[in-house]
């Protein structure tokens, strides 16, 4: 067979050199390699270049920065928030089983409740999620969790709150004015919790705990979502706590917290990292807070939803009974919650770690580490931030403190 060689084809001269030798042929492969190399370099370098050069801002004292943050009255904003949590919980298959651990507050009735906010809140407790937030005053807020080809939206407009899950086309609606649901307890508060997964709310919770057990300093400047910010560093003085440090990036202009990072003492990745990736302090677009249930969507009225879930009511009651035995020992970072439950539910301390209440029954027994002390014996269950001690006589001690502190607390209680 006659060979047709490229060297001998009379080409149109469009790039091709006249007589490429073997060497120049091989050299052509340099082009794709170069393209790939340039792309790799761009991917590697551009973020590095963009993040280098912290902004040059006038010095500010920690006190003034905190008061600036407290005085911040940002009511209008829209943007994207990235939330990454790594509590070091034993990995549980799927979000569904996570909600089973949630103390049954939602009364998982089987259908329609996939749009119930409490289930979604549990999903946020692990992994990385992108949220879109928009707010226009206290009356209108919106939070959407961006999912693969789906979205979960929580829209609060005046006295109406809508939750819409596009995946199942399910809607949960409540019209009760703020506070009216108080006697019902949970359901009114839970959607609020979900609304609160912004850096502002995390920062607020930490600032509330700033007292003499804490070192607060301004640790340079940074850029978050394209805005200049001061970095506030909060470190607990105590040796017992598992909290290493908390960093809050505060917008230099208006004092809005833009980024919140909680690092455990054991080092490694942050346990909670919440940051704006995009933020705009203008008025959100009109129509952002409008919601009409789509045709054919399954709408669950919050009231019906609660009355319908008989089991949910019972679970809720159980949980509340269990919580009645809740005590808090110590203060500040070292607080330890104790619970006299009959080996039942446990609770996490109010430190904003978002740790789900865990069913400390037989399942966790296999995960715990046996400890003994003056109090008798029990099991310690560890996550990266929260440790829990379940004594054999049914007491539970939970806190963002290390194992020894839990044992000491148990000994003292004896």
């Amino acid at each position: 067979m006659a060979r047709i060689r490229p060297t001998q084809v009379e080409d149109d001269g469009f790039w091709d050199e006249k007589r490429p030798a073997r060497r120049t042929k091989a050299a052509r492969y340099a082009v794709p390699v170069a393209v790939a190399g340039i792309a790799a370099a761009t991917i590697g370098l551009v973020p590095a270049l963009a993040s280098s050069g912290d902004p040059d801002l006038p010095k500010i004292s920690a006190e003034r920065l905190i008061s600036k943050m407290a005085a911040s009255d940002t009511e209008r904003l829209s943007g994207s928030v990235k939330i990454t949590t790594d509590l070091g919980l034993p990995s549980l298959p799927g979000g569904g089983s996570f909600s089973d651990f949630g103390g049954g507050a939602g009364g998982e009735g089987g259908d329609g409740s996939s749009a119930a906010p409490e289930n979604k809140l549990m999903e946020l407790a692990s992994g990385s999620h992108t949220l879109r937030v928009a707010a226009d005053g206290p009356e209108r807020q919106r939070v959407s969790i961006i999912e693969n080809a789906a979205e979960y939206s929580l829209i609060h407009n005046g006295d109406e709150t809508w939750a819409y899950d596009s995946k199942s086309n399910a809607v949960v609606h409540s019209t009760a004015p703020e506070g009216a649901g108080a006697k019902d307890g949970h359901p009114r508060e839970l959607p609020k919790d979900l609304k609160d997964v912004t850096p502002q709310q995390f920062a607020k919770q930490v600032l509330a705990s700033v007292d003499d057990t804490t070192d607060v300093s301004v640790d340079g400047t940074t850029r978050v979502a394209g805005r200049d910010a001061y970095e506030l560093l909060i470190e607990p003085k105590s040796d017992d706590t598992t909290v290493g440090s908390v960093r809050i990036a505060v917008d230099a202009d208006n004092g809005t917290p833009l980024k919140f990072t909680l690092t455990p003492k054991s080092g490694g990745k942050a346990v909670v990292d919440v940051a704006f990736t995009k933020v705009d302090f203008g008025k959100p677009a009109a129509g952002t807070f409008d919601f009409t249930p789509p045709k054919g969507a399954k709408v669950t009225e919050e009231g019906d939803h609660r009355r319908g879930g008989k089991d949910g009511m019972k679970d809720n009651k159980d949980a509340q009974e269990a919580l009645s035995g809740l005590n808090v020992i110590g203060e500040g970072w070292d607080s330890i919650a104790t619970l006299d439950g009959p080996g039942g539910a446990s609770a996490s301390p109010g430190k904003g770690d978002g740790g789900p209440g865990q069913d400390a029954g037989g399942f966790l027994d296999s995960l715990g580490k046996k400890v003994t002390g003056d109090f008798g014996s029990g099991h310690v269950f560890s996550t990266r931030l929260v440790n829990a001690l379940l004594t054999d006589d049914g007491k539970v001690y939970v806190g963002a403190v290390d194992k020894d502190a839990l044992v000491a607390a148990a000994n003292k209680a004896k």
Binding site: M1, A2, R3, I4, R5, P6, Q8, V9, E10, D11, D12, F14, W15, D16, P20, K25, R28, Y29, V31, P32, V35, A36, A39, S80, G94, G95, G96, S97, G110, D111, G112, S113, S114, N119, S144, I146, N148, A149, A150, E151, S153, I155, W162, Y164, S166, K167, S168, N169, A170, T277, G287, T288, D290, F291, T292, P294, K295, G296, A297, K298
Partner: protein, 302 residues
């Protein structure tokens, strides 16, 4: 001895040169017509167009007793695929559901067949040398092949979308569209977004199409090139599901495929869409130039 081997005499070249633009177009046109006239291509398009019809009929039958799709099991495992739950309320969602269903397997497989066959198929049937005997130039031939594959990407996507819209309009009501953010837009706006979704899906296939053309230049066996391309599609998608490999996920071409759904948010969430297009552009640049390097330096033996 073929004419190409001795180099064309000066006079014919001079005669051809002035008509070059026309000749270029003619080559592109002939590539397009040969691609779309093949029974194989038409069969592939027919299969793709049948997918939305099947989905539509299945959903219609399942919901004929007044039930709904996609709410079984209370979440968790066994969820219906994306957009299925909205199909019964608005037929336009059949377009999105069909694209979401065909994008992982059917579309890339069809592209793999066409792209893998583009050069290697000509080589194995012994027609590549005749294409090059004509003073077309290898680069131009490569570009013509590439254009034909791109055109197929677009036509294949449109086949799914149009068939989905037609089936949806026949079986289900149409009307105002509720976006996945919960915002309601007019049907016209929904149609525009559907068109945008189709365009993004077609562009999402650029990466695999270029990869297929490159693989096709490596071998003289059309079947081998097709199998390799389709195999790569499957491999990349398996790798994309292994959590331990999350470091390489952003560089796998199927990683951002489902980002077309971000067009259905309000406001549109551009981050992943832009990343997807950048990634496809990168694949096109790297494997396009690799195909050029290979094809222009290759000995054509068949």
């Amino acid at each position: 001895m073929s004419r190409a081997e001795t180099g064309a005499p000066a006079a014919p070249v001079a005669a051809v040169r002035p008509s070059r633009p026309l000749w270029t177009l003619a080559l592109f046109r002939s590539e397009l017509t040969t691609t779309f006239r093949r029974w194989r291509t038409l069969a592939l398009l027919g299969v793709l167009a049948a997918v939305p019809v099947l989905i539509g009929i299945a959903v219609k039958i399942e919901t004929s007793d007044g039930g709904t799709v996609g709410q079984g099991g209370g979440g968790g495992e066994g969820e219906a695929p994306a957009f299925f739950s909205q199909i019964t309320n608005n037929g336009i969602f059949l377009v999105f559901a069909a694209l979401a269903a065909t994008l992982p397997v059917f579309l890339p497989m069809a592209i793999g067949v066409i792209a893998g066959d583009s050069i290697a198929g000509e080589a194995s049937s012994g027609t590549l040398r005749y294409l090059l005997v004509a003073p077309a130039g290898r680069i131009r031939l490569l570009l013509a092949k590439f254009t034909a594959v791109m055109a197929f990407c677009l036509v294949a996507t449109l086949a799914v979308a149009v068939s989905g819209l037609a089936t949806g309009a026949l079986l289900f009501p149409l009307g105002d569209v509720t976006l996945i953010s919960g915002t309601t837009v007019s049907f016209g706006d929904g149609l525009v977004r559907a068109l945008g979704v189709a365009a993004v899906v077609a562009l999402s296939l650029v990466g695999i199409a270029t990869l297929g053309v490159f693989i096709s230049t490596l071998t003289n066996s059309g079947i081998a090139a097709m199998a390799t391309t389709v195999g790569l599609v499957i491999t990349a998608q398996i790798l994309d599901t292994i959590p331990q490999l999350h470091g390489i996920h952003p560089y796998l071409f199927p990683h951002y495929w489902l980002s077309f759904a971000d067009l259905l948010r309000a406001p549109v969430y551009w981050d992943d869409l832009v990343k997807n297009l950048e990634l496809q552009g990168l694949y096109a640049a790297v494997f396009g130039s690799a195909a050029w390097a290979r094809f222009t330096a290759k000995d054509i033996t068949a």
